[in-house]
């Protein structure tokens, strides 16, 4: 019997919907501040900084970071860590653009790591839709949720 078999199973939340209730508009003023905070000037052609793929999906997914952790039976105070982030852009994001978010949890996998002990690896997918419904960008994010109580 493997070591993992002795652990309680990871939360069964694959498929949990992360659809946002409202929309996210990329403000030109905020985009300018964001660009400057990363050491560049905003684009003059109306395109937003592409990192809004992450910001807009996180802010408008219908769950706070703490809420998403709670769905996975994890206390945000225990320190979720970003593992990886993938983005696939169909079009550039634009300031003034209004976007809606859809998404879902793809998996939560319990693992044992030499460095972190027991951890859950959460993978979720979010999409930013333009007002016409077209997907502007799709992102898969992986978070590591250290399960100190199971270490």
């Amino acid at each position: 019997m493997s070591e993992l078999a002795e652990l309680p199973p990871a939360p069964d939340v694959a498929g949990f919907k992360l659809d946002g209730a409202g929309t996210f508009t990329i403000s030109a003023v905020e985009n300018a501040a964001l660009c400057r905070s990363t050491g560049v000037e905003p684009a003059r052609d109306g395109t937003a900084h592409p990192i809004y793929y992450y910001i807009a999906t996180q802010v408008a997914m219908g769950q706070t970071v703490a809420g998403l952790c709670a769905v996975c039976d994890f206390d945000v105070e225990d320190g979720p860590m970003m593992g990886s982030s993938t983005a696939r852009f169909a079009v550039a994001l634009r300031t003034g653009g209004e976007y809606r978010v859809s998404g879902e949890i793809l998996s939560v996998v319990r693992k044992r790591s030499r460095k972190l002990g027991v951890m859950d690896v959460l993978t979720y997918r979010l999409r930013l839709h333009e007002t016409g419904g077209q997907v502007a960008v799709e992102t898969d994010n992986v978070w590591v949720l250290p399960r100190k109580e199971l270490a």
Binding site: E30, A33, L34, S37, T38, G39, V40, H49, P50, I51, Y54, I55, Q58, V59, T64, V65, V76, G79, M81, M82, G83, S84, S85, T86, A87, R88, F89, A92
Partner: protein, 129 residues
């Protein structure tokens, strides 16, 4: 402008990662996690003695490097792994190398390095030029 496999992309450097920017990003991300805002919380959690940069800012540095390397280009895809933290005051360098050229599509390996500590983010990207 032409690109060839093996070409290095011009690096994008942040001389000192700004704790003030982290405060702005807490608002942008609607995420007030205190490890990005309060050094005493970082110390209490045993995570170091400086505030920790939000992960998406590190991705933004990599995007800045790509957009400067390919003026007028559009990032089509990007995949980054978070290997270690970036702290307030760190000097970071985003860099890349061309791995494939297919018409107007250029693929690259990308990385973000902290002076004195090595690679903290690594991944791949494809840019339409």
């Amino acid at each position: 402008m032409s690109y060839a496999v093996g070409d290095s992309l011009p690096p994008f450097v942040i001389n000192s990662v700004s704790p003030a920017a982290m405060k702005e990003w807490a608002v942008f991300l609607a995420d007030p996690n205190p490890i990005h805002l309060d050094v005493e919380v970082v110390k209490a959690k045993g995570l170091g003695d400086r505030v920790i940069n939000q992960g998406p800012i590190n991705v933004a540095y990599l995007m800045n490097m790509l957009l400067a390397a390919f003026p007028g280009g559009r990032i089509e895809s990007m995949d980054t792994r978070f290997l270690d933290n970036v702290y307030g005051g760190d000097t970071v360098t985003a860099s890349g190398r061309v791995t494939a050229v297919d018409g107007r599509r250029v693929s690259c390996d990308i990385s973000l390095d902290v002076e004195g500590r090595g690679t903290v983010n690594a991944g791949t990207a494809t840019v339409q030029i």
